[in-house]
Symmetry: C2
Subunit: 736 residues, 2 copies
Amino acid sequence: MSFLRGSTNYVWCTTSVLGKGATGAVFQGVNKNTGEQVAVKTFNQLSHMRPHDVQLREFEVLKKVKHENIVKLLAIEEEQEGRGKVIVMELCTGGSLFNILDDPENTYGLREEEFLLVLEHLTAGMKHLRDNSLVHRDLKPGNIMKFVRDDGTTVYKLTDFGAARELEEDQQFMSLYGTEEYLHPDMYERAVLRKPVGKTFGATVDLWSIGVTLYHVATGNLPFRPYGGRRNKETMYYITTKKASGVISGTQSSENGPIDWCRTLPDSCRLSDGLKKFVTPLLAGLLEVDALKIWTFDKFFAEVTETLSRRLLHVYNIHKVRSVRIYVHPEDTYRNLRELIREQCDVSPDDQIILFNDKHLLETVDENTSCKNYPQTEENNPIMLFSNENNNVTISVENDVPKLPTFSNLVDVENDASVAKTICSIGHVCKWRVETLSLASKLTHDSVRTFAYVVKDELTRVLAKTSRLIEMTKCVEKTVDSVMRAQKTVHSMLGVKTTSSSNNWKEEMETVSQELFHGLSPAIKQLCLRYVTHNTLTKEWEKNTNGCKCCWQTKAPQRARSSVQKLRESWQHMIRDRATRNLTYNDNQFHVLERMKMDVIGTSLIKSLLEREVISSITQIADYLADWYKMAQTIYLQGKILDRDADVYSQRLDKFLKNMEDCDTAFHDDLVNVGLIKPIPRHGGRIKGQDMRLRTSIREIHSVQDEINSLLNGNSQLVNQFKTISEKISADCNKH
Amino acid sequence: MSFLRGSTNYVWCTTSVLGKGATGAVFQGVNKNTGEQVAVKTFNQLSHMRPHDVQLREFEVLKKVKHENIVKLLAIEEEQEGRGKVIVMELCTGGSLFNILDDPENTYGLREEEFLLVLEHLTAGMKHLRDNSLVHRDLKPGNIMKFVRDDGTTVYKLTDFGAARELEEDQQFMSLYGTEEYLHPDMYERAVLRKPVGKTFGATVDLWSIGVTLYHVATGNLPFRPYGGRRNKETMYYITTKKASGVISGTQSSENGPIDWCRTLPDSCRLSDGLKKFVTPLLAGLLEVDALKIWTFDKFFAEVTETLSRRLLHVYNIHKVRSVRIYVHPEDTYRNLRELIREQCDVSPDDQIILFNDKHLLETVDENTSCKNYPQTEENNPIMLFSNENNNVTISVENDVPKLPTFSNLVDVENDASVAKTICSIGHVCKWRVETLSLASKLTHDSVRTFAYVVKDELTRVLAKTSRLIEMTKCVEKTVDSVMRAQKTVHSMLGVKTTSSSNNWKEEMETVSQELFHGLSPAIKQLCLRYVTHNTLTKEWEKNTNGCKCCWQTKAPQRARSSVQKLRESWQHMIRDRATRNLTYNDNQFHVLERMKMDVIGTSLIKSLLEREVISSITQIADYLADWYKMAQTIYLQGKILDRDADVYSQRLDKFLKNMEDCDTAFHDDLVNVGLIKPIPRHGGRIKGQDMRLRTSIREIHSVQDEINSLLNGNSQLVNQFKTISEKISADCNKH
């Protein structure tokens, strides 16, 4: 018997099964003309027994839908030898979400990026159905396919419209489809419990299925789990219908035991807290049995759109040695970001030092920049968060890796394969821990480097500012000297003693500049010498962490990955053994070797790599970080203080200069007023009587000057008179 | 018959062959106690017929060597059922270099990083042999194994010491081993041509084999290729023995045709020019038939060590839209780097603008920093090179991808597999082109961003400098005003007209400051407004390249990789078909489909992706870059000029201030000299007669002052005399 079958343009091999369902199977095939790979859905006898319109419905629906997130229909052809119609669709090489969730990698749910893709694509596909007034009625992970594009990116696509039908707005449908765990409670009651219910099922039943699917994708588990699973139908119905609003899971862990209700996602879920914040209410809105409370499709769509429009900012919180993910609204600004950081990192906005790419984030964006225009952050190039106020570092390493199961003494292919899969799941958990902690180790080193760099930069900037102030001060000093000398000259010419006012300026200048020359400048120079030239912060860190290898550097994540890869290979070996069922003696020997290998590798992964190497190293690094930051933060704050001091000094210098000018202007004005000199055209500047003391002493000078002035007045005339007179007198005397 | 065999601690399956040789085979096995995977070498009948000491030699050699780059001996055990000794070694999962070179990915040689690993590890392994006075005598790609560490890194290791023996220093050996293409000509003559030669074979025969191996690894081809290959033994001998020194390859491309000698590596070789520079002389030194000219082992080891100690710096040359690799000596400094850049990029050192991480490289390192302390560059984060002088951009896209072969009309599994492999080779070439050009496209965008950033940074810096100069200038102006007013006051008191000298200062100050206020400051402000605030450079680039998608962004490399992956899958399919030999009708149908797929994918890869998409896009981007850089370079230079102007201005201001002070001091000194005022303690500063004109005019004032002075001298006395006299006269007059 040949396994090859075909239609006009396609061939497929019945050995390449992609999936099997109640009404038929899907095979991998190729286009005879182009070699293009496709999926071919064939129908079995049972399917042909359905009413003709039901059979046609799937074709009709498929022809109607056309969307990136719905598996594309390529052709409907007649199979050779009159076996009936086949549906040819694009091939989704990634398999279904059911297969993906079944992989031990996803025992605790998909990772965040993948979860978001499912959320986005599932929602977009649903939107398209909704826009075409269609209900799917059989949404579940098995009907969501992973399509891998040529560029390696993933698209999830809805498939299997065997249960779908058109739905006029508000029209309800009575026929029953669906896969029980994903069914809306009302449909479940009718279909599984086989109770005749008078209820009609709105299109929102799809929403419930999406809720169950998303919970499954997020956690790796179904949300509602009666003890004993599927067979415990009454409890299942009880859980789904009696659950309170806001509850997103109900688990029964013993026969007839109580239900453990939960309003949050489990700790084992791989989604970040930042995302859980948005996903939890979404799940609660969908897993709502009360018809009046369950979200409408529009609400669902709007909420998902809002969540997906958010922008992910990676933040590394050094105080907890932990990466966090912050989903900001695109229009959020710095203020909002700081609030969101406070929420997740417990550092109050005023205390946050927020660095990015070796700078303050505010050097790259400003207070009002929308987050949508923020630079791209990456998991290993995040925003770094430090606290101004707190210099503690506390790391909490969850060491709750599930215990490794052991193989039974005797070989049991069925049980061994299952144990092997569990070991793989645990291996994956270990691997993530190793990855997370190693990344934290790398980011700790990076953050130290960044902080040291920023401190150096700030100190250099303050030093430059101080140098500039020194130049300015010298210039002002020269002005003081000139003015003082000029006034002294005037006094000297007037023959009066220079009053204290001029010396006051000089002294005041010295008082002012002393702060710069004896305080600010040497202080910043010393800091710069130590922390810029000698690079002490970086050196201290390097010296302290010298003996402690960074597990990122020692490639711990790669080693963890390679261990998990080996575990998976052994697991695959056991799956093959399970399929063989009866092992030969040799096969048995190799089977035992694989079990041994898994024990050795699994234990070494948890005990040696994760616990003895990675956890102990990151704990030590956290200790070093705490010590180092105590010092670094002090230097940072010293720099800040000197910076502020420089600004205060700069203002004081300005004020001093202004005062002195005013006084000098007043002095000259007075000289003009008393008629000693002609007015000098004034160069802009009203006179403010700020230094009254100086003004007063100048007044005193002037009263003396007035006297001298009256003496000098008409001097030449007197001299001339005197000459004439003295000549006269001389003549007179000579006469005598 | 069972395929399972074993020794005390190991089992292996004779179906898992890793390699086969003349004296035995190597299988993959496992340790029965730990599950550890190993390689087990067993010996065949032929091997047992060798003299006993020869048989023992391999064990002895293996026990003696212990090095990271030599395959580790785990155990020598007796095989069960008295089959003789087996050698248990660590398993090298990457296979041999022979297998690696046989992959279509490596048809044109290994990529640079991998080549360097082979060079390093092969040399280190050889060094260890040499240190233990051992010759390998059968060095060839098949005896160099790739070991993949748990962390994913690669180690190459020497294996197969079946031909090795101990060699006392300078001892020669006469026995013959080796694989003919890699044999030293003398050994070739004896072993292949079977001529009795009186020559003795020094340990340097290993060096020749290393030369041939390295050429093979670098290019994917043997260096000496007679037409017809191996069978043309006389020509082979002719080529190797008659080649001139410095020639590293000789190829005969027709029966009895001429030999095409070559002293350089072929263009198809994937090594960079930067590395070829060191590899070519190395090959020439090893592939040297003249016993007096061939490198000694010490020379070889020293040269390799020197080459490997060099540090790779990635440089992106925007003028050729091309990445280059520069291997610097660790002690090289900036000057050497610039020379090496000139060598490869054709931009003279003085014209080079060298940027890295959005800064001038010289902001990160200084002129004397050793290159070993330079920051890490990456292929996609290179040093960016721009020219100060030249603003041309010329891209030369090699579009010499070999033509795709076509499958014969009839299915021929042998030929088809071979054609499929060639298509894969070409696919890989295309993929590299796409990767290289897409990276160039990304780096072009990056370099534009970097350059724009640096320009903004410089302009901002110049603006800050200018602002500071404005502050300084205002301060100096105030000093001028004060001094001028003071002198005027003195003049006014002296009742003399203020001479032109004071006004000259004022005017000169205005002349000086005009340059700042009317030239420098508005110019830099305008530039800043346009290029910092309005970000015009970036915007212009974005506007111009708006319609042209960057092939890095459109994931062209990922798509090329996925095409090549598909080609490889089809090739693998054909290899399976070749192994099957007789295809069923169905198999034949699928075989034809695979051929079709390869045609479609191969053509689309070359025509659509590489030519129509990637090459046309990068060509367009190069045009945009040329236009953009013409503008950007102008702004850059304007910034530089304004910066220099600011420095010149700053110096001029200093000089002006100094002059003025000197003059003022001289003025006051003169006042003291003429006795008008008492000396004022001087505040440091010798007087330089710089402004003679001013001094002269002051002298003029003083001569007038002298007159006034003599008039004023004894003034009070005169007045008193006058009073006395006038009273007397009055009295006299009254008497009269």
